[in-house]
């Protein structure tokens, strides 16, 4: 009995955690998204009215779809969604282009170095995310380090305007999420048998072709995992576009924040959050399906 209870507890722990800190908050947000905004505290109408105007017990469900309809009708929201997806997509591509050679070099480094290199990739996490993003202001602003260096070398004669543009947002996202791209790639590349590349060379494949026909296909799980780990948080990113991006950088995370805190429109902000979640759950489910299909195909 004891062991069985202990076992159940261990198995239940992650579900309890998810229920407590994901499911219940999400249900609250979902409930909020169907409410109407009112000037009150809290600033929304209840989903179920237990008492009628006369004070008698008469439960009444009040579901309001106006928030979702507004998301569809006002192109501000659709635009923020599309811009967020676009920025996240290209940031993911850039992170992949930067991260792959990095992970490859790490995986091919002498074995005694690898643990140190992995440490170096993780090292930035020891400083607050917010502080690191702020630090980029000092680098990217007109009289910042980057412009000063470029002008000192003589590559440019007047400062490049990077701060408060989409460029700054891209730099910020790629910088912040690069470790999430590098680590799964490294894991996939590191376990590859080096004799596979030798076999490819032996059979007549020049190095670049061996890379494309052997290394890349075998690292595909790492590419997909890394890309999702960058793409998903990048879509909903709020801090980076708020600090580095300009007023023109319309990302959904920023819009959500503005609805919540500037407009105090909690129901609309909640509706945005729900839509955002649905938009992001689709690629995750797709990824898991892929993984499951691959596992079945490989007979694992």
């Amino acid at each position: 009995m004891n062991t069985s209870w202990g076992k159940r507890l261990v198995i239940a722990a992650p579900y309890l955690w998810l229920g407590l800190f994901f499911l219940i908050p999400f249900l609250i947000v979902l409930k909020l998204s169907f409410a109407e905004v009112v000037l009150a505290r809290p600033p929304y109408t209840p989903l179920i009215e237990w008492l009628n105007a006369a004070g008698q017990f008469a439960p009444k469900l009040r579901v309001n779809f106006a928030n979702y309809l507004l998301l569809l009708s006002d192109d501000l929201y659709i635009r923020s969604f599309l811009i967020s997806l676009r920025i996240a997509f290209f940031a993911t591509l850039i992170a992949l282009a930067v991260g792959y050679p990095l992970a490859y070099a790490m995986a091919r480094a002498p074995e005694s170095w690898r643990a140190i290199l992995v440490m170096l990739v993780i090292l930035p996490f020891w400083t607050s995310f917010l502080i690191r993003v702020y630090a980029w202001i000092g680098i990217l602003k007109n009289e910042g380090l980057l412009n000063a260096a470029l002008m000192a070398v003589g590559i440019i004669s007047k400062p490049l305007v990077i701060m408060n543009t989409d460029w700054a947002v891209y730099i910020g996202i790629v910088y912040s999420y690069l470790p999430f791209m590098v680590l799964p790639l490294y894991a996939a590349l590191e376990k590859q048998d080096p004799s596979l590349l030798e076999a490819a060379a032996d059979l007549g494949a020049p190095p670049w072709k061996a890379f494309w026909t052997v290394t890349v296909p075998l690292s595909l799980p790492g590419i997909v995992a890394g890309s999702l780990l960058v793409f998903i948080p990048a879509v909903g990113e709020f801090v980076i576009p708020d600090i580095l991006g300009g007023s023109g950088t319309l990302m959904i995370g920023k819009t959500l924040w503005a609805e919540f805190f500037n407009n105090r429109d909690w129901p609309l902000a909640s509706a945005i959050a729900v839509v955002l979640l649905v938009v992001l759950v689709v690629p995750i489910v797709w990824f898991q399906r892929q993984q499951a299909a691959r596992a079945v195909e490989d007979g694992r």
């Binding site: 596979l196 076999a199 490819a200 032996d202 059979l203 007549g204 494949a205 072709k209 075998l218």
Partner: protein, 380 residues
């Protein structure tokens, strides 16, 4: 080997001074840091040979093979294949294919795609690739397995896919790195004959690396025994086994009793040797050693005979002793005999009769005798 319909011609190009070597290794050396892997190796291998590089682990045989494939660059010397200098030729441009010890099959490709990989690199037409792949699958008896992935195959099947993939380009030279190491014993014996059959049918020159002497003896036309990065002896399996050049070769290849002694006389190609440690005098075929010179004689255990009765002539090639251990191996038994002088001799006797009761058993007084041709005087 099991093809008895056509008598096989004895081809021994290595004995023909006019024949030129197909693969020529000239003064090859390779070190990893302070570790010398291969030290100044020369080899001449002829077309169509099944050549083994045999040695204990760490003797440099795999490094030599990897230099032939182009995965390692020699520090000194050069390699010629069919007359072409391979120095500076990267692996993907060499007319050589390799079968890896781990097989190194591409896990994300089917058996067909694995085999077709090499042909596809050459840009061969699709129809030709399909024909060659089917031909190879038939050769290694894997018809019908083309659409499987490597992980869906048994170890023996994977081994054959690796062989097919390495053979599909009809290389001038096929390198095999411990090709049977991962197979169980029965499958290994079967595969040895299969490999030899395939090699004879295709006429491709095979160079195989192995630490298994039985494997090397069964399959090779010739073999090179390596130790500490150097080649100690090259010859046919029978030559190397019957006439080992050194103590290392005698002990590495098969079992050997080595008796130390001193030459007492040398006449008519016959040496008389006094072996005080063993307590006997040895008459052995050989010359070139002066009286008084120290020497060592190797005897294969199966070339010694055991008798309970004292032989007629005990002046030489006979020594008395006591049986102190018997290893019963089924087909034969190995008797460990301690001579009266204190040396240990191992004598192998075929169990030609069913032997529940041993005619010779523990603690029996026995005589060990041998013919003058049984021993080999070791150079080193």
């Amino acid at each position: 080997m099991n093809d008895t319909r056509t008598p096989r011609a004895r081809i021994e190009p290595w004995n023909d001074p006019a024949a030129s070597a197909y693969v020529r290794v000239e003064g090859i050396a390779k070190s990893f840091g302070a570790q010398v892997a291969v030290a100044n190796v020369d080899l001449a291998i002829h077309k169509g040979e099944f050549f083994s590089l045999l040695g204990p682990s760490g003797c440099g045989k795999t490094t030599l093979l990897r230099m032939l494939a182009g995965f390692e660059t020699p520090d000194a010397g050069r390699i010629l294949i069919d007359g072409a200098d391979m120095t500076g030729v990267p692996p993907h441009r060499r007319p050589v294919n390799m079968m890896f010890q781990s097989y190194a099959l591409f896990p994300h490709m089917t058996v067909e795609q694995n085999i077709a990989f090499g042909l596809r690199q050459d840009g061969a037409p699709k129809a030709e690739i399909a024909d060659r792949v089917a031909e190879m699958l038939a050769l290694v008896k894997l018809d019908g397995f083309g659409r499987r992935k490597p992980h869906q195959l048994s170890g023996g099947q994977r081994q054959r896919v690796a062989l097919a993939r390495a053979l599909v380009k009809k290389p001038k030279l096929l390198l095999l790195d411990e090709p049977l190491g991962a197979l169980d014993r029965r499958l290994r014996e079967h595969t040895q004959f299969e490999l030899v059959n395939i090699q004879e049918r295709l006429g491709i020159t095979f160079i195989i690396v192995t630490h298994d002497q039985e494997e090397a003896m069964t399959m090779s036309s010739r073999m090179a025994v390596m130790e500490h990065g150097a080649i100690r002896q090259v010859g046919t399996p029978a030559e190397v086994y019957e006439r080992p050049a050194s103590r290392f070769v005698a002990e590495f290849l098969g079992d050997a009793n080595i008796i130390e002694g001193r030459v007492t006389s040398s006449a008519n190609g016959r040496l008389q040797i006094a072996a005080e440690a063993a307590g006997c005098t040895i008459a052995v075929d050989g010359d070139g050693l002066a009286a008084g010179a120290p020497c060592a004689v190797a005897f294969r255990p199966e070339k010694l005979t055991l008798a309970k009765d004292q032989p007629a002539d005990t002046s030489s090639n006979a020594v008395a002793g006591t049986v102190f251990d018997i290893a019963y191996l089924g087909d034969m038994s190995v008797y460990h005999v301690r001579t009266d002088a204190g040396a240990t001799l191992r004598v192998a006797a075929a169990n030609s009769q069913r032997m529940i009761e041993r005619p010779i058993t523990w603690d029996d007084r026995v005589w060990v005798t041998w013919a003058p041709g049984a021993g080999v005087v070791l150079d080193r």
